[in-house]
């Protein structure tokens, strides 16, 4: 059978194949040449595989010839490929490397998100844990439990949005994050270290420094032995993390019905003291109402405006920018 006939490869065939290499230009042509001359079904491979069927006396010489041929063909292929690559590299034209890259889609986080995260991270580093509460509140949590009874003058300063309906238990949009203090203390026992970020609402006209919707963050710690000096220590640490290592803070006496003493806290800046938040020692009456003995437990609380902090950190002059959502503004963060 012809199948059993050994395949022969002549020197001329090898030379012809090597000569043909010089005309090859593309990778595809090279590939086809390689398959035809070095592949599993090439004459070379077939000849090598059928070597055993040749007479014994021819095998040594034929084997040597075929191995040399294989070496030549492989070398020829490698050289041609290298030459082509070098030629192509030589032919490359320089790029204008100053052209921009292809644009990738770019998203980003809102400055309030970024700032709230920074605030949370600063307090988290001091062992504070995040809690959250409802924005639609009752008068009890927003006012009464915080020692702001009906007709208390402090309500004047907190223009409140009331909701329609629900006359017997009026509902309102919380004016501060302080209701979280009560909601958390009702359920937990000391020690407490929590921070409660969220949206709050004041029914007031807007201008460059006033918004009717504000993101606040409440800070609350209750434990044995906490003092006003610890409040100062925590807020000092916070100020340095938010605004830089060289910052200091200043307390001035202020009034919030749910703390005693109450302070307004300012952070130093190249332009003088900038007030950033209100704080104080949790009023003993509130601790007592929560079932904590104020002779044993003391606590501090603070409430800060995230927008205000963001304005200071990013040099934003107008608070209304935050909720306009202009992409020219949002892309800068």
């Amino acid at each position: 059978m012809s199948v059993s006939e050994p395949v022969l490869l002549s020197a001329a065939e090898v030379e012809a194949a090597l000569e043909a290499l010089a005309d090859l230009v593309t990778d595809a042509e090279l590939g086809r040449w390689r398959t035809a001359n070095l592949g599993r079904k090439s004459r070379l491979s077939l000849a090598l595989r059928s070597l055993g069927r040749r007479p014994v006396e021819e095998r040594a010489a034929a084997g040597r010839f075929l191995n040399q041929a294989k070496g030549k063909l492989e070398r020829g292929f490698r050289d041609r490929r290298a030459a082509l690559k070098a030629e192509r590299t030589r032919a490359l034209r320089p790029l204008d490397v100053s052209l921009p890259g292809r644009p990738l889609p770019r998203g980003g986080l809102h400055p309030i998100t970024l700032t709230e995260r920074a605030v949370v991270a600063a307090f988290a580093s001091m062992g504070f844990h995040v809690i959250e509460g409802p924005e639609v509140e009752t008068e009890y949590y927003n006012f009464e439990a915080l020692r702001i009874p009906a007709d208390h003058p402090a309500r004047e300063a907190m223009d409140t949005f009331y909701l329609e309906g629900a006359e017997e238990t009026p509902l309102l949009l919380r004016t501060h994050t302080s209701p979280n203090q009560i909601r958390f203390m009702e359920r937990q026992t000391p020690p407490i270290r929590v921070i409660a970020p969220g949206r709050t609402y004041r029914n007031e006209a807007t201008d460059a420094t006033h918004e009717w919707m504000i993101t606040q963050t409440e800070v609350l710690a209750v434990d044995e032995g906490l003092t006003l000096a610890h409040l100062k220590g925590a807020l000092y640490e916070f100020a340095r993390r938010m605004f830089g290592e060289d910052r200091t803070i200043r307390f001035r006496c202020d009034y919030f019905p749910f703390v005693e003493p109450g302070v307004e806290v300012a952070v130093s800046s190249p332009r003088g003291w900038i007030e950033i938040l209100g704080a104080g020692m949790v009023h003993p009456e509130i601790l007592r109402n929560m079932g904590y003995d104020p002779e044993i437990y003391t606590g501090f609380a603070a409430g800060l405006g995230v927008e205000r902090i963001a304005m200071l950190r990013y040099g934003i002059r107008d608070i209304r920018r935050f909720y306009e959502n202009d992409l020219r503004f949002l892309r800068q963060f």
Binding site: G108, G127, V136, E156, P191, A229, H230, G233, F322
Partner: protein, 811 residues
């Protein structure tokens, strides 16, 4: 509240450094928001006494004047002919800002040498101070101010503008501020004289008062001043009132206002002859009673309102405003003076009811001590006698049904360091409290017994005294102590973790985060709310909104983000890709359910290699891609199948439902906004929206908070094969893939192309070719052709049965 410093300075010695005083008061809780100048502001100009006048050695018309400017004497060269020894003059030191008399421009005074003599300042003319054009001679002051007094206080005045906190009703007066100044600076307090010459016949029998509701009126006094002469009040009083922000009217009105500002106690003057029977009844108004108030408004009263009445009816709204009928006029001869103490809540409610937050109402609403009434009455009488020629009747009518006992508080020494965090000795505490007007008994070993002065109605518990000590000492020396002690363990908050992850994922998918208002208009919500549902559960509305555009609590994030997209596209952005994560407020009885949603919005055109807008609009699959990223990042499996959603275009909406645990629970949607809806938000082109219900995901999705568990990498190679299936228009690629994947040796199946087929080539209408690439792999061996052939037969069977799909070209 505005406090003119000349007035304040009369009641207490003021330190020279006004700025430092303002700062001290601010730190102690009386915030000075502004330090205004009334008149001119002459920086660096003070009063100076002329000590000597000598001739100039080198000039006949110039003289050398030695001035005492309240510090080391200064020698200046002066050309004015009217300068003389002993005069009090305006002295400008080096660095002062003066007007150039020729140009009228400001210039800074420098040290100069005039004809060989160094001049250490200048004696000013009126022109140099900008007072007039007078430049021939120097200004000679008619004042007994000591040398070194800032000129502004001699010729003008300064005003501290306070923003007081409502606990400090006691500081709503010049005297109240003076008490604080005295406490903090040690300056002597000089309370105004209140003794009045009572030379008239007794008031008894000529006026009477009764209180019907002692809960609402704690004290009521009347005084009678006869034969007053209405005239302008003295110049100093008019100046002070004007500086304090009150318009001077005549001596009667001005004196009542003056005493209110000075002592903090509102007073009201009736025309005695117009009060019927000269008899006052303090009572609740009867329903339907009316009163025309001073401002000419006719007001309908109700039993909530406390009124001052005479036997004929109401003549004043207690604590808020007087009535027109009994008002004092230029013809008034006899004044019946009411000074009373009302319940703060009543006054507040009435002031709010009629929107009349007058100076008087504010003081009553913040709370006043009843003791102050008689003192203020006497002070008014004294001034009326002096400046209105009145004759004060002997005695007063004084109805004071319930006296409050003086408040005494026991403060343990240990409480001070327990709250303040610094050691405070009992002596220090005692000294601070006494300076602030408290009466301290320190006879007990570990406790101070403290009597609270009547005017400090805000001090009631020991910690109030702790604050008094704290603010007296100041908080500057308070150490910043680091927090110590065990860090408490509190329960985790998965909702927050999910929300923040969604934010990061959406931003990484190329979306910009927006934050929009939670209040919007009902009209904005309407396109996204089911009409039937709205009938049952109307979105919550605000009673007192800022405007119609913001009167409804959002039940959807969609209106907000569409608004943000519209504004940016309107402004010329070629494309927007936005997201928001926030709360919606779903009505139910009681407090609403506050749920969290994430919403994304994509609209506009694709950008080219240089970021230029192209003609190719962004489409459904651009929007879906961003949501896919978020969903994949959360590690949840969902199906994307046609759905319906109000406000979105039918046929272009995919509903996301959970696979695995909670299978079938709808957690989100993506689709094209209905063009009619888009139009309502001012959006013109195609707009795509997606939404994820984060609250529901948190409730129902599996593995949200779990970490991904890593699968070992495959050890054996995969073989892949491409199929081109012919399917009908309604066939879902997802079904095709699902059918193809349902064999353990199928590692994955995905769509690699999708195109419509031509009817002219015999395909049914709507037929498509969907290319599916299947990868086969066994976990434990390399697959052989015949293994694959078996799996392939199964795939072809399943896609035919499930989707009616056949391989293209195979008939």
């Amino acid at each position: 509240m505005r406090v003119p410093l000349k007035w304040l300075g009369e009641l207490v010695g003021l330190p020279a450094d006004r700025e430092a005083l303002a700062a001290r008061l601010t730190l102690a809780g009386l915030e000075v928001t502004e330090c205004e100048t009334v008149g001119g502001d002459w920086k660096g100009v003070v009063t100076g006494r002329v000590l000597r006048v000598e001739p100039h050695p080198n000039a006949d018309r110039l003289r050398l004047v030695t001035v005492d400017p309240g510090g080391p004497p200064q020698r200046v060269v002066c050309g004015a002919p009217n300068v003389a020894e002993g005069q009090l003059i305006a002295f400008a030191a080096k660095g002062a800002v003066l007007k150039d008399p020729r140009t009228g421009q400001d210039r800074v005074l420098k040290k100069s040498r005039i004809r060989g003599v160094v001049s250490g300042g200048m004696v000013c003319s009126e022109a140099e101070l900008g007072l007039s054009a007078e430049h021939a001679g120097i200004l000679v002051l008619d004042s007994d101010a000591p040398p070194g007094t800032p000129l502004v206080e001699v010729l003008g005045d300064r005003v501290f503008v306070f923003d007081l906190t409502p606990n400090r009703a006691d500081a709503l007066s010049v005297l109240g501020v003076a008490r604080e100044v005295a406490a903090f600076t040690g300056g002597p307090l000089r309370p105004p004289g209140i003794e009045a010459p009572r030379e008239g016949s007794p008031i008894a029998g000529r006026a009477a008062a009764e209180i019907h509701d002692p809960d609402l009126c704690h004290r009521f006094t009347l005084a009678l001043i006869e034969d007053v002469e209405v005239a302008p009040s003295p110049k100093w009083m008019r100046e002070r009132l004007a500086a304090a922000g009150m318009r001077p009217i005549n001596n009667l009105v001005d004196i009542t206002n003056y005493v209110m500002l000075e002592l903090g106690q509102p007073v009201h003057a009736f025309d005695y002859d117009r009060v019927r029977e000269h008899r006052i009844i303090v009572r609740r108004a009867a329903a339907g009673e009316r009163l025309t108030t001073l401002d000419g408004q006719r007001r309908e009263l109700d039993p909530e309102r406390l009124v001052i009445a005479d036997p004929g009816g109401p003549i004043a709204l207690a604590g808020v405003m007087g009535g027109a009928d009994t008002e004092i006029t230029p013809e008034t001869r006899n004044v019946l003076l009411e000074v009373a103490n009302f319940d703060p809540v009543t006054v507040r409610r009435t002031a709010r009811r009629f929107d009349l937050f007058s100076d008087a109402a504010r003081r009553f609403a913040w709370g006043l001590p009843a003791e102050l009434a008689s003192a203020a009455s006497s002070r008014v009488c004294r001034l009326l006698a002096k400046h209105a020629g009145g004759r004060v009747a002997e005695g007063i009518v004084d109805v004071w049904p319930r006296r409050e006992a003086p408040v005494r508080i026991r403060l343990r020494h240990a409480r001070l360091p327990q709250v303040l965090g610094i050691p405070v000795t009992p002596d220090t505490a005692r000294g601070a409290l006494e300076r602030l007007g408290f009466d301290v008994d320190a006879t007990e070993e570990d406790t101070l017994e403290v009597g609270v002065p009547g005017w400090r109605r805000d001090v009631r518990v020991p910690d109030d005294l702790v604050e008094e000590v704290g603010r007296f000492l100041g908080y500057d020396d308070l150490p910043a102590s680091p927090l110590t002690g065990a860090i408490p363990h509190h329960p985790p908050l998965p909702a927050r973790e999910l929300r923040e992850r969604v934010r990061d994922l959406a931003a990484a998918a190329g979306l910009h985060e927006v934050q929009t208002y939670t209040l919007l208009s009902d009209a904005e919500l309407e396109p996204f709310t089911d009409a039937d549902d709205r009938a049952v559960r109307r979105p919550l509305r605000v009673q007192n909104p800022l405007g119609q555009a913001r009167d409804t609590l959002r039940t959807s994030l969609r209106p907000g983000i569409l608004g943000a997209a519209a504004r940016n596209l309107e402004r010329g952005e070629p494309a927007v890709a936005l997201f928001e994560v926030g709360r919606v407020y779903l009505p139910r009885p009681g407090q609403p359910r506050e749920e969290e949603r994430a919403v994304g919005c994509v609209s506009g055109v694709r950008l080219d290699r240089f970021g230029n807008p192209t003609d190719e609009p962004l489409d459904f699959f651009d929007a879906r891609a961003t949501l896919e990223r978020v969903v994949a990042g959360l590690g949840i499996l969902v199906s994307w199948r046609p759905g319906e959603e109000i406000g979105l275009l039918p046929g272009r909406v995919a509903a996301l439902r959970l696979c695995g645990r909670g299978k079938g629970v709808r957690v989100g949607v993506v689709g094209q906004v209905h063009p009619e809806t888009a139009e309502r938000f001012g959006l013109d082109g195609d707009v795509f929206l997606w939404e994820l219900d984060l609250s529901r995901l948190l409730d129902r999705a599996e593995g949200l908070t779990a970490l991904p568990q890593v699968q070992p990498l495959p050890r054996y190679p995969a073989a892949s094969e491409d199929f081109a299936f012919v399917v009908g228009a309604a066939t879902l690629a997802e079904d095709l893939l699902e059918a193809a994947s349902r064999h353990p040796l199928v590692a994955s199946a995905r769509v690699f192309d999708d195109f419509p087929l031509d009817r002219r080539q015999g395909h049914p209408a709507g037929a498509r070719s969907v290319g599916v690439r299947v990868r086969y792999r066994a976990p434990n061996r390399t697959l052989r052709d015949r293994d694959i052939a078996k799996v392939r037969r199964g795939i072809l069977n399943r896609v035919r049965t499930a989707c009616g799909a056949v391989v293209r070209g195979n008939g």
